[in-house]
Amino acid sequence: MRGRIGSFAAGVAVLAVLLAVPHAMRPYYVGLVTKMLIFALFAMSLDLLLGYTGLASLGHAAFFGVAAYTIALLFLHAGVGGWVAFPAALAAATATGAVIAVLALRARGSYFLMITFALAQVVWSVAFGWRSFTNGDDGMPGIARPDFGWSLDNTDAYFYFTLAVVGVAILLLAAIVKSPFGRALRGIRESESRMQALGYDVWRYQFTAFVLAAAFAGLAGALYAYYNRFVGPEYLNVIQSAEALIMVILGGAGTLIGPAIGAALIVFLEDYVSSMTEHWVMVLGIIYVLVTLFAPRGLVGMIVDYRQRRSTP
């Protein structure tokens, strides 16, 4: 009970700080925090697979990118705006998730990783190669932000919009994780054969988790397309997928707060490092090595371990 009140209080405090961001920070940093929120959602959606279901996917950027491209293509080819494009982006990401899930869930472990990687690269190669439709690696600039009754054109308005959408998504994810379905996912992570012996249709649970993760990743991708007003094939790239994996592992897989912290840190570091050197990916690799060596259960896991050690002498 104390834990529940504590996490509720912490949630309110974080929300209060976030609401104050546009008043306290320069627009550049308001934009950066917006990006952190978007990638927090992206990382959390991956954690539903990695941390809760025990499925390591290296193709999660596919759903992020498909949603972003749906928005760009609808706007730039058909002039369709937010009311239609936003739901269409979610639908496209979810459908892509369903197709990839059916193909990838035939395998487990590193084979699952390789199949998700390969299928995501197929999606990437379409965006990269079909120049007449997607502009190839030039990407698609000039996407106008949606107007849901009030303009999202300035940085502050888009920040509040993102905060609202990501906030609702996090509440939904938290509810899913706490439900009997979420409990079953953790059981599947621990032992598929035991769950089958107990009467659980393991495939159906994994499929549902995969499609839900794709939908939430698509939501993040849609927010990112409007955030940048630009879409490019790097959204679908394996580096994007790997970055999300590192966000989850850095923060702590199997929690919701962990990936959010990991995402905020990586987005901040990327911004900071990129202003000094172009070798960001190398720095990312070093971070990954350091985390697996010194904090294999992520920052959140490290804190939990530290507390346990102090409470049990």
Binding site: A175, F181, R186, R194
Partner: protein, 246 residues
């Protein structure tokens, strides 16, 4: 009606024949022990009954329903539960959470995505009742991988019982246990309702004769003897391949 009817079951792994035509019938409420030396095919037989392995040929019926083609979870929802020879639990979950999964699993309810588990009051009551009944109440909040081996074997049994199965398969429930823990498990099995059908793989002769109504002996993928304690003790072939080694 028979609880389990196995008809001419064969299983080959490449060139190796693990089951060479096993036929077996077990009546409702019967306690049957499966004996046999290592490599006789006992665990393979269990895996084909529970659906973890598909037989090369032959048929399996559960309460007069053909289940040969069904998946393990479908068989579980028809009232079949099993334990594993190598402990197969949820290492990083608590005992209570493990039992909650077992209580919620066997009925195959639709996926519930939103309402928190804590609102399912009935499942908690059932889980606590089971832990109380089988002497694990004190471990409810502990993480499974921190339990002693004996407690883990007991939890295996509790998980299998949570769905109130009609047919229970126990794969060496007392393997590796101390004499005190072994008699605790034997007592657990003897307390189970008499209408529950139980098939047990057991190496310990004394345990086998204590639990069993009838005994079946396997050797090299075949059933070579069936009967009560006296018949098995008197069977010269069994004495030669199994009892002779004692």
């Amino acid at each position: 009606m028979t609880a389990l009817a196995i008809d001419d079951l064969c299983k080959n792994f490449g060139g190796v024949t693990a089951l060479a035509g096993v036929s077996l019938e077990i009546g409702v409420g019967e306690r049957r022990v499966l004996l046999g030396p290592n490599g006789a095919g006992k665990t393979t037989l269990f895996h084909t009954i529970s659906g973890n392995l598909m037989p090369s040929s032959g048929r399996i019926r559960l309460f007069d329903r053909d289940i040969t083609q069904l998946r393990p979870d479908e068989r579980a929802r028809l009232g079949l539960a099993r334990t594993f020879q190598i402990t197969n639990l949820f290492p990083r979950l608590t005992v209570l959470d493990s039992v909650l999964l077992a209580v919620g699993g066997a009925n195959g309810r639709p996926l519930r995505l939103i309402w928190p588990m804590s609102s399912y009051r009935g499942r908690y009551e059932e889980a606590h009742r089971l832990l109380e009944q089988w002497g694990l109440a004190g471990t409810a909040r502990r993480v499974v991988r921190n339990l002693s081996y004996g407690e883990q074997r007991q939890l295996e049994l509790v998980l299998a019982l949570a769905g109130e199965p009609r047919l229970l398969l126990l794969d060496e429930p007392t393997a590796g246990l101390s004499p005190a823990e072994t008699s605790a498990v034997v007592a657990m099995v003897q307390q189970l309702p008499r209408d529950m059908t139980i098939l047990i793989i057991e190496h310990d002769m004394d345990v086998a004769f204590e639990i069993a109504d009838r005994i079946a002996v396997m050797h090299q993928g075949r059933l070579i003897a069936e009967g009560d304690e006296a018949a098995i003790r008197a069977n010269p072939q069994v004495t030669e391949i199994y009892l002779g080694m004692e």
